[in-house]
C-alpha cells in the first residue's frame, strides 16, 4: 500500500485546482450525487448537442479523490458522444474495482486514478462523479423520450 500511488501529482493538482468547476446556466440536464458515508456532494450540469456532451461543469465538496476524479472526468468526457462516455465509464469502473485489470491506453489522464483500487474504501469516492454524470445523462434521455 503506497500513498504516493493514491495521491499522485495529477490527483493533488486536480484537487487543488479543479477543472470545469462551476455550474452551467442554462443547462440541458443536471444531477446531484451524494455519498452519505463521507458527506461528499456533487452537482453536475450538462449541455447536449444531439448525441454529444458539448459542455459540462461540476461543483461540490468532497475529499481529494472525489474532487480530482470529477475534475478529470469532466475533462475526459467533454465533447464526447454518449457511447464514447459509456465506453470510458466501463473502462474506469473496471480499473477501479478489479485489482489486476489492465489499464487501457485510451484512459489518458484518468489512469491516474488506478491507485485507488488499492484502497477499497475509497473506490466510492472516485466513482461518485461518474454515477452523477450518468444520472444527468439518463435524465436528459428520459426528457427527450417524454417530449
Amino acid at each position: 500500500m503506497d500513498l504516493k500511488d493514491l495521491y499522485r501529482e495529477v490527483i493533488l493538482d486536480h484537487n487543488k485546482s479543479p477543472r470545469l468547476f462551476g455550474r452551467l446556466e442554462p443547462a440541458d440536464s443536471s444531477a446531484d450525487g451524494h455519498n452519505p458515508l463521507c458527506g461528499d456532494r456533487l452537482h453536475v450540469t450538462v449541455r447536449l448537442d444531439g448525441d454529444r456532451l458539448s459542455d459540462l461543469r461540476f461543483e461540490g465538496k468532497g475529499c481529494a479523490i472525489s474532487v480530482a476524479s470529477a475534475s478529470l472526468m469532466c475533462e475526459a468526457v467533454k465533447g464526447k458522444r454518449r457511447d464514447e462516455i459509456a465506453h470510458l465509464y466501463g473502462e474506469i469502473h473496471e480499473v477501479l474495482t478489479k485489482h489486476d485489470a489492465p489499464v487501457p491506453e485510451d484512459l489518458g489522464k484518468l489512469a491516474a486514478l488506478t491507485g485507488v483500487r488499492e484502497f477499497p474504501v475509497r473506490v466510492k469516492c472516485a466513482s461518485l462523479c461518474w454515477h452523477t454524470l450518468n444520472a444527468a445523462l439518463d435524465r436528459s434521455a428520459q426528457t427527450v423520450k417524454t417530449e
Binding site: 500513498l3 495521491y7 493533488l12 458515508l37 463521507c38 468532497g62 475529499c63 479523490i65 484502497f119 469516492c125
Partner: protein, 415 residues
Amino acid sequence: MSVAPAHAAPAYDVNRVWRDFPILAREVHGRPLVFLDSAASSQRPRAVIEAVDEYEERHHANVHRGVHLLSQEATAMFEHARERVRGFVNAASIREVIFTRGTTESINLVAQSYARNRLQPGDEILLTALEHHANIVPWQLVAGQTGARVRAVPMDRRGVVSLEDFTACLGPRTKIVACAHVSNALGTVLPVREITRLAHARGAVVLVDGAQAVPHQRVDLAKLDCDFYAFSAHKMYGPTGIGVLVGRESLLEAMPPWQGGGDMILTVSFEKSTYNELPFKFEAGTPNISGAVGLAAAIDYIDGLGIENIHAHEQRLLTIATEKLARIPGLTIIGTAPEKASVISFTLDDIHPHDLGTILDAEGVAVRTGHHCAMPVMEFFGVPATARASFACYSRESDIDALVAALAKAREVFG
C-alpha cells in the same frame, strides 16, 4: 529511602493495561497499530475474550428454560451479569436492568413502548443539538406515529448546551427529554443531573444516552435520577451486540412489551397471553448470553482498574493531546467544551477528513473520519466531516505522538 504506605493505590500502569489487550500488539500496513478509535468501539482485554470462550466451551445452553445443569449454569451466568450491570451503574434493582442489542435498541424500545403510547399530537420531545442519530431518528419515528414534535436545544460554538437554553426550550408540552451524557462527536459532557431535575420539575420523563459516558466516568443512576439510561457493551471493553436499558421500575411496569416471543410470557393461548415480570417482559427470544457474560467480565476489568483511575488517565491524555494538536498549524479542534470526555474531533487545513483518515491509516494510526452519525453537529460547525481521535484506558502518550507525526505526514502529502 521512602516506602509507600501499604494502602496507597498503585500508580496507573498504562503499559500493563496495554498488554491486557492482545489486538493492540498487531501491525497494520507493516507498522505498529495505534488505535485511536475507541469511541466507535473499544478493544477487548484478554479477560473478556477468555470469559466468553470459557462460557462457550463449558457452559452454553439456553437460559431460563432447562432443568439440566448447563442451562442452570448459563442462566446463573446471565443473571450474574445483570447483577454486575446493576451494581456498576447503581440501579435500584435487577428488575430495572434490561438487556438489549445496544444503545440504539434501548432507545427504540423506550420510543416505541413508552413514548408511542403516551404522546399526543402537539406534545414535544426535546433533544439537544449534539445528539447521535440513534437519539434522533427513533424520536422522529415516534413523532410521525403520534403527531408529536421533535425539538432540539441549541449548543454554542464550543459544543456546550447551557442549562439556560435547556430551560428556555422546556415547555408545557415537553413530555420527553432525550439527551446524550457525553457527545460522541465533540466529547462534551452534559449536565444530565441538572437536566433531569429541570425536566422532572416540568413533568417530563428523561432518557439519557450513556453510550459514551459509561466507559469514561462513574455513572451513578441513583444520583442522576433519570428515568431511562441506555448504553452498549462494546464501547466499554465488552462484546458487540449487547447493551442495556435501565428504566425506572414504575414506568417499565406500566409499559407494554415491545417485542413478543419466548421468555417474555407467562402463559400463551391463542386467545390471550400474559406477560412475564420485569425485566423479562422486555427480553423476547433467546438473549445474547455470551455477550452478557463478556459484559460482566468487562465490568470486572474496569472495576479492577478503577473507573476513577481510568478517568484520570484519559483526562491527562486529553489535556496532552489537546495541547499538542493545537500547536499544529492549520489544525482546528471541533468541540472545545470545558468539560469533555477523551474525544478530540478536528480538521486539518482544507484536507478532507477522509484523505486524512487514509494517510493516517497508512501510518498505522486508526482514527474515525466522517460525520460520526451526528450530521446535525457537522452542519452546525459547517464541516462535512471531521477526523476524531478518542482515548481509552489502554491509550498511551506515545499514541498521541504517533498521531501528531502522521498528521505532519498528511500535510507533507498535501503540500
